[in-house]
């Protein structure tokens, strides 16, 4: 993305951000609450149109990009209906095949992809259970499986482990590591900076503007964290 700016009404959400994510990278997006992390991710995926600047996905302008199956998106889990709708794990993972088949039928080779995806994330035995009966961690695995079934090259995750217990969370990040090792690009928004610095190889730290973008070591050594978080606390202080 090149010099991207986006506002909600008069409030700038992200400003002048230039950022490149290489294939196979594991990028952590960090920043305080309301710093525009989710907005930035939505911009990258084409869910919002920037006010200015340009965004490319896999080398194609994002607004004309139509290989939906190449992206797997796992949102904060409050935004989908896995907890209320009677949908089985298998049915939800099958959705990953929908961009491939369009209006056609789900065939045997699609079912094979679904089974493989369920196996990779380790929930084959839960395939016929309803999502609503799973724990938070198991449910997030099901969403990852959906992305894998779609044969996505890019996984975009927005705070995927909110409300997931610590043990499942570690196991979940182990899974992300191994997927990344297999060549899948990962962009992760995560509240817990400890997790990000441990797992991600590159970090983008933002608070409306980009404070740091580089490898994890240089981020830890820099004062970007203080600058990004500190400036927000100063703003907060002024408003009192």
């Amino acid at each position: 993305m090149e010099d991207v700016t986006f506002s909600y009404g008069d409030t700038a959400a992200v400003q002048g951000i230039t950022l490149t994510v290489e294939a196979g990278e594991f990028l952590g997006l960090v920043g305080p609450n309301g710093s525009g992390k989710t907005t930035l991710l939505h911009l990258m995926l084409g869910l919002h149109t920037p006010d200015s600047g340009s965004i490319e996905l896999f080398g194609e302008p994002v607004d004309t990009f139509d290989d939906g199956e190449r992206i797997g998106y796992v949102s904060q889990h409050a935004t989908n209906r896995g907890e209320t709708m009677p949908v089985t794990v298998r049915e939800s993972v099958r959705m990953g095949r929908f961009p491939h088949v369009g209006h056609g039928r789900i065939g045997p080779e699609d079912e094979t992809s679904v089974n493989e995806a369920l196996e990779t994330v380790g929930i084959s035995d839960l395939a016929d259970r309803q999502l609503s009966q799973l724990s938070g961690g198991q449910r997030q695995r099901a969403y990852i499986a959906r992305a894998l079934a779609s044969e996505a090259d890019l996984l975009a995750l927005d705070e995927p482990t909110v409300g997931v217990d610590a043990e499942s969370r570690d196991a979940f990040y182990e899974l992300l590591d191994s997927l990344n090792a297999d060549g899948i690009t990962i962009i992760l928004i995560e509240h817990d900076i400890g997790v990000v610095t441990e797992r991600a190889e590159r970090i983008a730290c933002l608070n409306t503007e980009l404070y740091h973008h580089g490898d994890t070591d240089s981020f830890v050594e820099s004062d970007a964290l203080d600058a990004a978080y500190g400036s927000s606390s100063r703003v907060l202080h002024h408003s009192h």
């Binding site: 992206i71 907890e83 949908v87 089985t88 969403y143």
Partner: protein
């Protein structure tokens, strides 16, 4: 495992019976339409003869009459398409939209009567209601996308707003022209004789709706389940949303003849609520919704004909009885499910 197989088998039988009933009713509607031709005319006559045998054995005096079958056919179609669309609408948390579109369609019926009275043209006001209903659906969709409040606020506004407009138009029209039919009948449903044109309209709309859902089953499921992920997967979410709301309007207008404005939403919602209570997958929810919808229609007609009561209300009460039964069953067999919100 055996219990699951038996359940699956029962569902299959239910779906096949529903399908056969629908095909039979479709054949009746078509044969009535083409009764001047030899083969269809023969079928139509035989159908009514079979009806008189039914009367003979059941001790009733209705099944030999064509108008009764128009009503039953319309009901059978409603029992299939209303839950079919409702299963998406309910899980999009838009249960109220059926009620809203029915009120919009009511205003449409009034406009239809006025147009008929003013122009002297014949025909059914339902065609106008269909157009107004679809426009209302697009209007709700447009408002929802632009409104800064919760999604159900524009729905509530359009609901009461279109009813107000309908009522104003009735008063305005009554003073200026003679309006032939009692509009209030559309409020309560059970228009005592559904005209053959109404049953035909419902038959055609039902074929259309079943086709649309069959073609777009996956897309509707994806946007219902996770709209954002569907957008990321490059589905045209807005277009599918609009299509869904438009076919809801179509179903509502067709169903209004038998259910009435006030009760029509029940057929979109109640069978789906019952199915959701006990289904283990989305596909099963869809199948069970249709089976429960059809059971409600058949049960409702049985009560209505047996006791001389209005069909629409009987159908709704039957649907609610099924819903309560599924709650009792799910409470007993899987207590964990009862905590689901």
């Amino acid at each position: 495992m055996r219990r699951i197989d038996r359940r699956r088998q029962a569902e299959r039988v239910g779906l096949v019976l529903t399908g056969l009933l629908a095909v039979l009713m479709l054949a009746f509607v078509v044969s009535h339409w083409l009764r001047a031709y030899p083969v269809t005319g023969w079928f139509y006559d035989e159908f009514l003869i079979a009806g008189s045998w039914m009367d003979h054995y059941l001790g009733t005096r209705v099944f030999a009459r064509s108008f009764m079958w128009q009503q039953i056919a319309t009901g059978v179609f409603v029992g299939i398409v209303a839950p079919l669309v409702g299963v998406y609408i309910v899980h999009r948390e838009m249960a109220l939209i059926g009620e809203t579109l029915a009120h919009t369609a009511f205003a449409g019926v009034v406009v239809g009567f006025i147009v008929i009275a003013a122009t002297g043209l014949g025909g059914s006001p339902l065609w106008v209601a269909l157009v107004v209903g679809i426009l209302g659906a697009l209007g709700v969709q447009w408002l929802t996308e632009r409104s800064r409040t919760y999604g159900d606020v524009p729905i509530a506004i359009v609901l009461s707003g279109s009813f107000a407009v309908g009522t104003l138009l009735i008063s305005w029209g009554r003073d200026r022209m003679s309006i032939a039919i009692d509009i209030e009948q559309y409020l309560w449903g059970n228009v005592s004789t559904i005209p053959p044109e109404g049953a035909r309209l419902m038959a055609a709309l039902s074929l259309l709706v079943v086709a649309v859902v069959a073609i777009n089953y996956k897309q509707f499921l994806f946007i219902t389940f996770d709209e954002q992920a569907a957008r990321v997967a490059r589905l045209d979410v807005d277009a599918y949303n609009t299509l869904l709301v438009v076919i809801t309007a179509v179903v509502v207008v067709g169903s209004m003849q038998i259910m009435g404005v006030i009760l029509v939403a029940a057929m979109l919602v109640v069978p789906v609520a019952a199915a959701t209570q006990i289904a283990r997958s989305f596909r099963e929810t869809l199948y069970l919704s249709v089976i429960f919808g059809e059971l409600s229609v058949v049960g409702g007609f049985a009560v209505a004909i047996g006791q001389g009561l209005p069909a629409g209300s009987s159908i709704v009460v039957a649907a609610i009885a099924i819903y309560l039964a599924t709650i009792a069953v799910s409470e007993r067999s899987t207590p964990a499910l009862s905590t689901r919100s």
